[in-house]
Amino acid sequence: MRYFFYYLIFALIVIVILFPMLWTFSLSIKTHADITSSIPKFIFQPTTGNYRGLFTGETGTTSLPSSKPNFPRYFMNGVIISGGATLLAMLIGIPAAYALTRARFKKESTRENLAFNILSYWFGPEIAIVLPLYQIYQRIGLIDTYLGLMLVYQLIGIPFIVWMCRSYFLDIPVSIEEAANVDGCSQVQTFFRVVLPLAKGGIAATALLTFIFCWNSFVFALVVGGEKTMPVTTGSLGFIRYQAVLWGQMSAAIIVSALPAIILAILLQKHIVRGLTFGSVKE
């Protein structure tokens, strides 16, 4: 009886969490007429029209304007910008994380302070950086460019990667590295042959989460991005701005944009709590 009560609450929570996604999915396979009916329809003839429209650019109804958001482009932009930003942040962040784990400083506290300084970027309000950056980017021609966005996304990537990788490196016993040194490995060799293989699971999870954070970020893309570089987050708002709201296609766009994150969420379960708390909570 007690267990019945638990399962009931769990079932309720699962329903509350999944319902918005399932409902959005149901909207994405409805026709425009079914969506806009005044009473929500639970039984309807499913259609793939919204998904086809998303990629071919047809709106499906004649009463709506033909100029519409270019979703495939937004998706590709998201992949390019988030992928590029993640790659760059890994190149910069992983060596730094390792140095912040093992390098000797004159004062022992320097290491902690540097790490905290790098972390603090994550907490700053984006708008305070992006307003002046808007002007700077306009002057040097980086506005609405992939490079410009990848650079500013380093504020998301570097702090996260430094903290996460550091937390994984700290898990590796120093004695293993010392043993490698005794066996004649240089510091660089130790890093590539001993440390990286041991931490590769954590590093991979960190990379994927960095990608997701970049994929999900909004303010940077809104202000210093533009029509050419628009990713799915700002792009999915485009379905509202036209003369009428393209509910069906917007739903389809939401589902397609959310899918990578949903899949990763399930795959990365083990690493996610640690990732979301910057390594402060380990499981």
């Binding site: 638990y6 609450i9 769990f10 929570i13 699962v14 999944l18 918005p20 409902w23 959005t24 909207l27 806009t36 005044s38 929500p40 910069i92 060596p95 730094a96 140095a99 912040l100 300084n117 790098i118 970027y121 907490f123 700053g124 309000p125 708008i127 305070a128 950086i129 992006v130 307003l131 002046p132 950056l133 002007q135 650079l151 380093q154 504020l155 570097i158 702090p159 997701i212 999900n216 909004f218 303010v219 809104l222 202000v223 799915v232 708002l237 917007m250 944009s257 959310a258 994150a261 949903i262 990763l264 969420a265 399930i266 379960q269 996610i272 709590v273 979301l276 708390t277 909570v281 499981e283």
Partner: protein
Amino acid sequence: MKKWIIAPAILVPILVGVIPFGYGVYLSFTNWRLANPGINFIGLENYYFLFKDQNFWKAVLISFEYVGMAISIELALGSLIAYLLTKNRRGQWFFRSIIIIPLTVAPILLSLMWKLMLSTSGGVVNYFLGFIGISPVAWLADPKIALLTLAFIDAYIYTPFVALILFAGLQSLPRDPYEAALVDGASGFDSFRYITWPLMRPLVLVSVMFRLVISFKIFDTIYATTSGGPGTSTTNLHLWVYLNAFRYGDMAYAMAGAVILYLIIYILTNVFVRMWKNATSYI
């Protein structure tokens, strides 16, 4: 270990973060406008008007109200879920996979899902409430409840974050003190007060700090659902800054607001980091 490999991880964020922000602080003392390229130094004028601007103070207040509402809901529900998770080992993997999903999908996509469901014309939430005799509610269009609705959307996205952190903490609690307390005749409340709470406090602080900062500077979900309206009833400080910059074109004035936003977050974070250090000092 060469320490210079940390340098890029420090220099890149300085380049795209600190320098723009510093330049922004300078710009907040000028008359920079979106349409007008000429920039003149005008001293403290922007700040003077800012402190007399009722809309600005209202935005500050709304930020705090929003954070207060969202965090209360999230802590209450999050502790409940965390507690239930410890009581139920079967199906835990499935349940955790589900509750992680809202944390990885872009907040803007989730809030768009809610916007679809909360719509007053054919929205599914009002339709369901109709069955239990509740007349349609303008969730996002009624100035009295729009902010609360947004806090609930925030809770939908971030309650799992609090739940997972607290759950990780509850799982790592040692068994022995509880048995000792039981032998000594301590009540359930006593063991909570003297064992669970002191051990859990750092984690509660970590989750509250993350939630506090991120909800305080929340932007994307509000921008996508209400854009700060109806009226200014959901315009928090981050949105206020954005609207002043890009809707009214008053960049310097907006930047002054952004500096204040930065200062508030800076103070909040420091208070919590200090509290966290105190709470962990004896563990």
